[in-house]
Amino acid sequence: MQPILSVQNLSVEFRTSGEPIKAVNEVSFDLQPGETLAVVGESGSGKSVSMLSMLGLIPTPPAKVTSGSVQFDGIDLLKTTKEQLRSVRGRKIAMVFQDPMTSLNPIMKVGEQIGEILRLHLKLSKGEALRRSIELLELVGIPNASRRINEYPAQFSGGMRQRVMIAMALSCDPRLLIADEPTTALDVTIQMQIINIVRGLKDSKNMSIIWISHDLGVVAGIADRVIVMYAGHIVEAAPASKLFADPRHPYTAGLLASVPRIDKPKLSHLRAIEGSPPDLSKLDGGCPFYARCGARTDLCKAVKPTLDPVGDNHSARCHYANSGAVETAGFSQKQRELA
């Protein structure tokens, strides 16, 4: 099957007054139609930057795409014209952002914000756009839609606002939805609601989803496939079940071990990964995870590992992925069980 999105060797740098910061480092992945891909990593891992730069949404004075291609619907998004890109944004690829309070225009009525896209891409009239907006609000489960269409974002609760964002994103029936930490700013109970809404809509519309998160619990609930990013690199990619059952990169194992589990009383303490994310302007030759890895060797310091297959549709960026790196780093089978 032809992937709906194919990213090859995407690299993004930030030019500051000092050394350039390599925020995204040769990221490659494919996305199949109808697939939900989760992108996992800490703050600063490059997960948001890589997705945003695909659509040209990172301001290019400080940022610069230094290499790569993003094939979508027959065109390379990185090399296409501005008009083409604008016709893709909102229409074929839609985005949902993290904090709906600041991601929605505070002084514009909700109906107007949704109607904008409809009138732009689908050329609907004002009346038609209004009707369709009301339908969309109902679709995401907002009661009293015809009244609330004329309200402002501040009049909605956090969860409702996120539903509005989702309604906005789905308005033109996009083929791909990119959700950048959509539940991070919400209460846990609301999180589940949002996830369920997205899951339901995805099934009914056969939409592909890229779901960015740092929360493995959320990822477990929604992902078909997972990419783990660290310091701008993809360090592991696998189908969700495989990743949780058999991680091959020490970082992935560390992430899994640090998630608290109610049903495993034998686990005496949470394992945190020692150290902190590296300075992205000073990445030298070796493995980006070297400083924090419990299984590191001199080889790791000298040579950067490549992203190699380690199983069926499963790849990892580690010299010892096939030789028990995870165990060496101190993550036993018992501690890693999540699925």
Binding site: R86, A94, F97, N105, I107, L120, A154
Partner: protein, 306 residues
């Protein structure tokens, strides 16, 4: 809504009363107005008689309440110099100032907004640098010096415009430019700053992600949100201009307006006219504040939610 208006009206009345009271009372604390009005050689009995005739020998509080009572009916007394009612004297030059003020503020706002918008659209570019330089020049100009320099260069040396007076469009050019300089500088700065603030916010990314054109994002999203602080600043500058800057500029150019009248009245210690002028000035400020609030109310619909 109605209660807000009522509170507003009360607040404004208290303000006007306070301004007029302070002006009235400070003129009695020090400085004997009578001595200014009469030649120094006047014998003391004549001075006392004059004082008595003007009612200036009564206790201060009595004079104050008497004055306030009459002021509420619009009677501020007669000008000590012109012997005609003070309030009409204060009101008569006002249209001339309004002419100057409105044109100057219109110019400052339109040009300032445009320049500020361009600068914020292309930060750190040449346009931005020029705009910022212009704005700094504007806010740093001493009004007196600017007015005199403009007169010197364009009137005396080049002869393009008349130096002073009132009547033709040509008379209006130099005073308008002098008045507009400072507000222009401030409006450029606040527009630029407000726009840059908005453009850095997350909802702009959302707007772009929807596929909207840069122009739409800039105007329909960013500018709309940047307008409230800009409106507040424009209102503030207008009040400052009409009640302050005009005093200097009109004096330099001999423009027969409110500011010129104020300066003359203060110089001659014409107490009734001074108080009448203070009254008019505070009414002007109140009206401008009110108009600014209305404009703000339109620009920021979310305040209606509170």
């Amino acid at each position: 809504m109605l209660s807000l208006l009522k509170a507003r009206a009360l607040h404004s009345i208290i303000l006007i009363v306070a301004v007029v009271s302070v002006v009235f009372l400070t003129n009695f604390v020090i400085g004997d107005p009578v001595k200014i009005l009469l030649p120094p050689s006047t014998p003391p009995e004549a001075v006392e008689l004059y004082r008595h005739n003007l009612g200036l020998d009564r206790p201060i509080l009595v004079q104050y309440f008497d004055f306030m009572k009459r002021a509420f009916t619009g009677d501020f007394g007669d000008s000590w110099w012109q012997k005609t009612p003070a309030l009409p004297i204060a009101l008569r030059p006002f249209p001339a100032t309004l002419e100057l003020g409105i044109v100057a503020m219109l110019f400052a706002t339109l040009v300032g907004l445009t320049v500020g918008l361009y600068a914020s659209a292309r930060p750190r570019s040449l346009v931005d640098r020029i705009a910022t330089s212009i704005s700094f020049l504007g806010i740093s100009s001493p009004l007196i010096w600017l007015a005199l320099m403009l007169a010197l260069i364009f009137s005396v040396k080049l002869g393009w415009f008349p130096t002073s007076g009132y009547g033709t469009l040509g008379h209006m050019v130099l005073p308008t430019v002098a008045l507009a300089a400072l507000p222009l500088g401030r409006i450029v700065q606040i527009t630029r700053a407000a726009m840059l603030d908005e453009l850095a916010k997350p909802y702009i990314v959302t707007a772009r992600a929807k596929g909207l054109s840069e122009k739409k994002v800039f105007i329909k999203h960013a500018l709309r949100n940047a307008l409230p602080p800009i409106i507040t600043e424009v209102g503030w500058e207008t009040a400052l201009l009409l009640t302050g800057y005009t005093i200097i500029v009109e004096s330099v150019y001999g423009w027969p307006g409110f500011g010129f009248a104020t300066y003359n009245a203060i110089l001659t210690r014409d107490l009734p006219v001074i108080t009448a002028l203070a009254f008019v000035a505070s009414v002007v400020v109140v009206v401008i504040n009110f108009l600014t609030d209305i404009a703000y109310w339109f620009a920021n619909p979310t305040i209606r939610l509170r």
